[in-house]
Amino acid sequence: MMANHWIIVPVVLPAMLGAFLVLALRHDLWLQRVFGTAGMVALLAVALGNLAAASAGPPQVYLLGDWPVPFGILLVLDRLSALMVALQAGLALAVTVYAVATGWDSRGRHFHALMQFQMMGLSGAFLTGDAFNLFVFFEVLLIASYGLMIHGGGGARLKAGVQYVAFNLVGSTLFLIALATLYSVLGSLAMADIALRAAALPAGEGAMLRVAVVLLFLVFAVKGALLPLQFWLPGTYAAAPGPVAALFAVMTKVGAYAVIRFHLTVFPETTAAIGPMVEPLLMPAALATLVLGALGVLGARTLGRAVAFAALASMGTLFTAVALGTPQATAAAIYYTLHSTLAAAVLFLAVDLVRDRRGGDGLDLAAPPIAQGGLIAAIFLAGAIAMAGMPPLSGFLGKLMILDAARGPVQGWVWSVVLATGFVTILGFARAGSLVFWKAHQTAADPAPHPAEPWAFAAAGLLLAGLVALTVLAGPAMDWIGATAEGLHARSPYLDAVLNARPVAQTLPPEG
């Protein structure tokens, strides 16, 4: 039996292409653009193929170097990881097209190579089945994101960049401490093997394990910008180049993905040595993040910061759904992940279009109307409607499903916070949008001429089309996502696939 080598392609393809772009095409921007965009198209095609393969059968395991399971590094393609890779590839394609169309990729060096390395890190983080390997891929995606974050240079961007890097280096340090503690308690780093060994640990001997688990979730909370570890997000997202901020919309989802994976598959509430520890900590933090994000949208002084705080609020909503802990809530969380990534990316692209034409995105800035203002305002309006969770777009459906999944003693808290913050977010976006798009008409001056950049609008339109598709096809999508969530809560499909994986060498007939 041959292993399915398509599983590792989303990691290897960007790695090779990124190196090729740096080494061979360093001096030719147009060739970089052609190869970079073609690489994103190929990655999306492979990711969609993997998604089809994952939804057709049980999780598939790829053993690197053909090592047997607890000893080697392994990749696992299940429905959730395949979905996340496809989401990331689609977003990256739109971002690449946008960066080429607006000329962002020519404002610094190596934009396309960094994008490829970012794809390598993201794909690896979603696909890996090994906890230490997850750390390594986190570092790969972070170091690429450091480069992308300061792309184009400038003092404000460098200053925000240093803070972003310092914050994430502390996060990486915590991650290593957590992994070392985990290894000293359980003696294994493969996620499925960790799950088995943790479940076998007696209830009284879990003190060190609980320390490791709390540290691990703290790290994921840093990545997912959960209060009180959210400080890096607003400054970073507002200072990053527009297309990079749009791509970063998926970076926080890596934290959410890791929480879902570890909370449901590796350390479920039924683990005797841990017990129900994560959800009581996660729920208040998630609701507080949501409140802070909504207030930030209302109080922001630039459009970029308003959108960054909206992205923070969406992480709060997402973690609220994760903390509810039922299969229905997990399905809502996965749906909301898809939705909030696309909605945040649309808004960041709209902010960049405004910034480019207006010479800044300050809400106190008096500026004349901007070129293509109507179209940009429409994109912003659609993105804001989706983000705030108003009908008819997918944000409304996502929030409705989360509210529906909230049962029991937390119901009152979840309902009141989600609904109140939704209202505050609407107010904030209405204020920001009217200041930028309507108040400009008090100035009599004509819009300054600006290139039409049709492909930039096409990229934003592609993401909006994703939102519309998510809304129109919500029924079939939720059937698929619901089955995914059931599988995650049952745990056995993932664990059986990994623990029963045999090296290829063992399945071959003996020679001669």
């Binding site: 170091i143 003092g155 240093v162």
Partner: protein, 127 residues
């Protein structure tokens, strides 16, 4: 031996955290480096402290020392080295732009103190 390693990890971590909380980029980077040393020692110790034992199974020896944490530490060292290089370059860039490495001042504060000329405060965003 255990006491020595524990004291070293604790001391490095305490010094690292103290430096991390300073208001200038340079001590923060030093603190991050100290923290990464502490973590490297900690990972090394997570495979149990064993003296004078081979990292493979050997029938003539009384036991073995776990080789996996040593491999993990090697990975962690390489990664933290690369990350430190990255943040040093970015901090240098920020320092060259602003003229100091304080993290609690904006360009407006610096301009108010008259320490940098107005043209250096322009970020050149999309210019």
């Amino acid at each position: 031996m255990e006491g020595l390693i524990a004291a070293a990890v604790g001391g490095l971590t305490a010094a690292g955290v103290y430096l991390m909380l300073r208001q200038r980029a340079f001590p923060v980077i030093l603190g991050l480096s100290l923290l990464s040393y502490a973590v490297n020692l900690f990972i090394f110790a997570s495979g149990r402290v064993a003296l004078a034992l081979p990292p493979i199974l050997d029938k003539t020896q009384a036991g073995y020392t776990d080789p996996l944490p040593q491999a993990l530490v090697l990975t962690a060292i390489v990664i933290s080295f690369g990350m430190t290089a990255a943040i040093v370059m970015m901090a240098l860039g920020a320092w060259l732009h602003a003229g100091d490495d304080r993290i609690d001042m904006t360009d407006d504060d610096r301009a108010a103190e008259g320490r940098i000329a107005g043209d250096r405060t322009a970020t050149g965003d999309r210019a």
